[in-house]
Point group: C2
Chain length 338, copies 2
DNA sequence: TTGAAAGCGCTACCAA
DNA sequence: TTGGTAGCGCTTTCAA
């Protein structure tokens, strides 16, 4: 309630009041073992009394280490995913006493330039560059000078470390589960955008069929835009082919939502007549559909963790980071739809 | 691609290379008008050549202004809302050359303490304390020493500035719109949690009825938990009363989603037999339901902007911030459901 | 119009 | 075991 007029106490204030030198106070704070317990306690008492907290700005200037990691995203963080990614990154950073400084560039060149200027000016020790869906990016040239880890994205020549979901594995696993449940006619409603996930999930789907000795039937794969409408049309189309599928694997949960509508309209029950599998595990969809939708989860939290861990682990050894291209599995989230 | 071995250039480096003093360089950077164009250009040329950027850490130490605002949330940022709030705040902060430092406390006392220590150590100039839904909070005592603005929340004695959605106005407006469309029997499926929105939206609903001379019929208000299931049961109940409503106002979009299921199962068409109005405008629900759901939007972006603007506007005048309790209207988002 | 120099709060080297 | 002190990069006063 008071007017916070009083200036913050400095290390010098602590030293004077404790009757020791600034050096001693610094040693106490930084856990130098040479300080005898008696002195240490005296100093700590004064610190508590004055409610002293070291000035991180001065520390940074002196040590030439800011303790800041720049977290750059090129898009507005509107998806629930963004939070998960950031949370994973933050949890790891926090553990190592680093802080994350968020910069949205909103795909705006001017903003991007000023964001990066800001980060460099603030002496960030490294950069995590994250996108909201798995894709290739072109990195702003200035960033090439800093240790950078890519999150949910990659650069054309794979010369920077990167972590992305294992799309092929996810597609494989999803299809495998449906086959294990006894389905031999598994439809796939694929996205039509030229993004990595499109081809990779399809590859996983095909590989799973092959591994189970089921011939690939192109008629069972339809493509449309990755919306609810697209899923609706896709499911309609699949249900019209002569020997119709008994299970549908959808590119994502939004498409699955549309597929639900189409199946319901055709009087088909889920999962009795047709099993449905989604992707992305967008919980607000998958958890609230009726019946709840089984899905493959995108490992956002884990990617956030991995990227940060890798960056921090390798920050010490200066120079360029080894361009590991890490993939993280997409766990299966079972629900009532299969 | 290079190994970024070279240390960053300092202001001194610039001064030497340009053949002027450090002071002159500082003046040029800070736009001191006393510097003649000739000198200025010479200096700017060297700055560009060296790719020099002022060290914000040193600036902060010297000026005693960190340019950092702490953005504290007590919950994990999983909702799509979180992004909107933060974006609004960030847009304003950025304009004024301030940066936002995010700290999630996750309702964990230990984390909260260390987060706040971190923020104070980093010399934040002020705090924005945000929650993910409108409610009362108890502020960590340390924060009382810093200029703080509450976002989507408030403290018991209203002694801190705060910005929240105008729940009463939203409830009023939603009901008003349904009445204007000719509905005189408007059902309300309310939430049952003891949160501010529950009572306030109901108050708005009642006020709108009163203003249109429609007597309040308690039978038209049902309460349940704020989930899809709750909405399902609520709609079922409302459809069973003798003179059933022709419009339903739902506490939120999730409940409306359940109401859709119930109405569909009863063979009632939306909006022909029953109009449905949601709240929150959770786009992934309201935009994808069929028919798309009309809703009242929670002004997250605007709250983020207001809180930051208010904080920055009043940072200068030291002391405690005037405890303005600001409300922001919830705009009506028209879609096909009414 | 420009420069010299003090000093922001801290760390860490060197002495004692 | 503790203290004196230089200096991190910058802003800003005062003087020239």
């Amino acid at each position: 309630m008071n007017q916070q007029k009083k200036p913050k106490p400095t290390m010098n204030d602590v030293a004077k009041m404790a009757g020791v030198s600034q050096t001693t106070v610094s040693f106490v704070i930084n856990g130098n073992p040479e300080i005898p317990d008696e002195t240490k306690e005296k100093v700590l008492a004064v610190i508590a009394q004055l409610d002293y907290r070291p000035n991180a700005v001065a520390q940074s200037l002196r040590t030439q280490r800011s303790g800041i990691i720049g977290f750059v995203t090129d898009e507005i963080a509107i998806t629930p995913f963004a939070g998960k990614i950031f949370e994973g990154a933050q949890d790891v950073a926090w553990d190592q006493e680093k802080i994350l400084l968020l910069a949205n560039t909103k795909n705006d060149a001017r903003l991007q330039a000023s964001a990066i200027n800001m980060l460099i000016g603030r002496q960030v020790e490294g950069i995590i560059y994250a996108t909201m869906y798995h894709r290739q990016v072109e990195l702003p040239p200035v960033l090439w000078g800093l240790p950078t880890v890519l999150l949910d994205c990659f650069v054309a020549d794979h010369s920077l470390p990167s972590v992305v979901p294992d799309e092929v594995g996810g597609g494989y696993h999803a299809t495998h589960i449906l086959i294990e449940k006894g389905h031999t006619r598994v439809g796939f409603i694929n996205n039509q955008d030229p993004i990595p996930a499109t081809g990779l999930r399809l590859a996983g789907y095909q590989a799973a069929l092959a591994d189970h000795g089921i011939p690939f039937d192109p008629a069972l794969v339809v493509t449309d835009n990755s919306s609810s409408d697209g899923g609706y049309r896709g499911a309609q189309a699949l249900m019209q082919i002569p020997e119709r599928p008994t299970a549908i694997f959808c590119f994502n949960d939004r498409m699955a939502m549309g597929a639900y509508d189409a199946l319901r309209k055709l009087g088909l029950s889920i999962p009795n007549d047709v099993a449905v599998m989604g992707f992305d595990n967008q919980e607000i969809i998958s958890g609230y559909l009726y019946p709840p939708l089984s899905s493959m989860e995108l490992p956002h939290y884990e990617m956030g963790k991995w990227a940060t861990q890798y960056l921090l682990d390798n920050l010490a050894q200066e120079g360029k980071l080894a361009p590991v291209q890490h993939k993280i599995a997409c766990p299966f989230i079972p629900r009532a739809s299969i």
